[in-house]
C-alpha cells in the first residue's frame, strides 16, 4: 500500500507521487486526491519522483481534477518527467493538465 504524502499550506495541498503511478496504486491515488481536496480544493500533484504513469494513473488524475473543480478549486501537475509528459501529450490530456515545471511554479498566482 503506497503512502501518499500530502502537505497543506497557504490553502494549497501538495501530493507527492511515488516512482510508479500505475494500476497497483491508482485507487489509493484517487482517494488521496479526494482527501486532499476535502482539506484544500487547490491541489498540486508533484510528479517529480515519478518515472512511469499508466492509463489508470491518468484516470485517477482526471477524476481528481473533477473532484477539485466540483469543490471550487482545481488540480495542477508539477515536475513531470519525460515519460509522463509524453503520455499526457499522446492522450491529449496536456490540454486539461498543463505540466508546470515545479511545485513552486504550480503554486504561483494561485
Amino acid at each position: 500500500m503506497t503512502e501518499w504524502q500530502t502537505d497543506v499550506s497557504d490553502g494549497v495541498a501538495v501530493i507527492v507521487c511515488p516512482a510508479r503511478v500505475s494500476m497497483a496504486v491508482a485507487a489509493s491515488f484517487r482517494e488521496a486526491i479526494a482527501a486532499a481536496a476535502a482539506e484544500a480544493p487547490k491541489v498540486v500533484v508533484d510528479l517529480g519522483p515519478t518515472t512511469f504513469i499508466d492509463s489508470s494513473g491518468l484516470g485517477a488524475l482526471v477524476s481528481g481534477l473533477k473532484t477539485c473543480r466540483q469543490a471550487g478549486g482545481d488540480l495542477r501537475i508539477a515536475a513531470a518527467g519525460e515519460q509522463v509528459r509524453t503520455v499526457l501529450k499522446l492522450t491529449n490530456l496536456d490540454r486539461i493538465l498543463r505540466p508546470h515545471d515545479s511545485v513552486e511554479d504550480a503554486r504561483r498566482d494561485w
Binding site: 500505475s22 497497483a24 482526471v62 519525460e82 492522450t91
Partner: protein
C-alpha cells in the same frame, strides 16, 4: 549483444505487474544500444496490455500469463500470452480512438497502439496472445 530474449510468468493481478517493469529495466541495462526513449515507450505499451489482461481476464484472479521479450538490433518485440477466456473486446480499428479528455478510462489500448509499430491480438488454442513491436533506426 542482440538477439537476446527474456521470459517471465505471473498472475493477472496488479501486484505481479512490478516484475514486468523490473524485467524491462534489466533488459534495457544489459542492452545500451536500445534508445532510452524507445524502452520508455515500449514499457508504456507493455504495461497497458498487461493491465488490460488484469482488468478483463476471466476468471478474475485465476488468469496466468507468460511474457517473452526479444531484443534485436533495431526493435523490441514482446509476446504476452494469457490463459483467460477468449478476449471479446478486441477491435483493431477501435484501438486508435482516444477517449475524450474528461474520460476516466479507455486510454490503455489507444495509448499502447500510439507508441507501437505493431499491435496484434489473436486466440491461439486456449490462450489470448498479444504481440507488440517497436522499431527504431539502428
Amino acid at each position: 549483444m542482440t538477439g537476446d530474449h527474456y521470459e517471465l510468468n505471473g498472475l493477472a493481478v496488479p501486484d505481479d505487474m512490478e516484475q514486468l517493469h523490473d524485467l524491462l529495466e534489466e533488459a534495457s541495462a544489459q542492452h545500451p544500444h536500445v534508445p532510452a526513449s524507445d524502452v520508455m515507450m515500449f514499457e508504456t505499451a507493455v504495461m497497458e496490455l498487461a493491465n488490460n489482461v488484469v482488468e478483463h481476464g476471466r476468471p478474475v484472479g485465476q488468469v496466468a500469463w507468460h511474457f517473452r521479450l526479444e531484443v534485436a538490433a533495431d526493435s523490441l518485440t514482446a509476446r504476452l500470452a494469457d490463459s483467460g477466456e477468449e478476449y471479446a473486446g478486441w477491435d483493431a480499428a477501435a484501438t486508435h480512438d482516444m477517449p475524450g479528455e474528461m474520460a476516466e478510462s479507455g486510454r490503455g489500448l489507444p495509448l499502447a497502439s500510439a507508441v507501437l509499430d505493431e499491435l496484434d491480438y489473436r486466440r491461439e488454442g486456449t490462450s489470448n496472445v498479444w504481440t507488440m513491436v517497436r522499431r527504431w533506426q539502428a
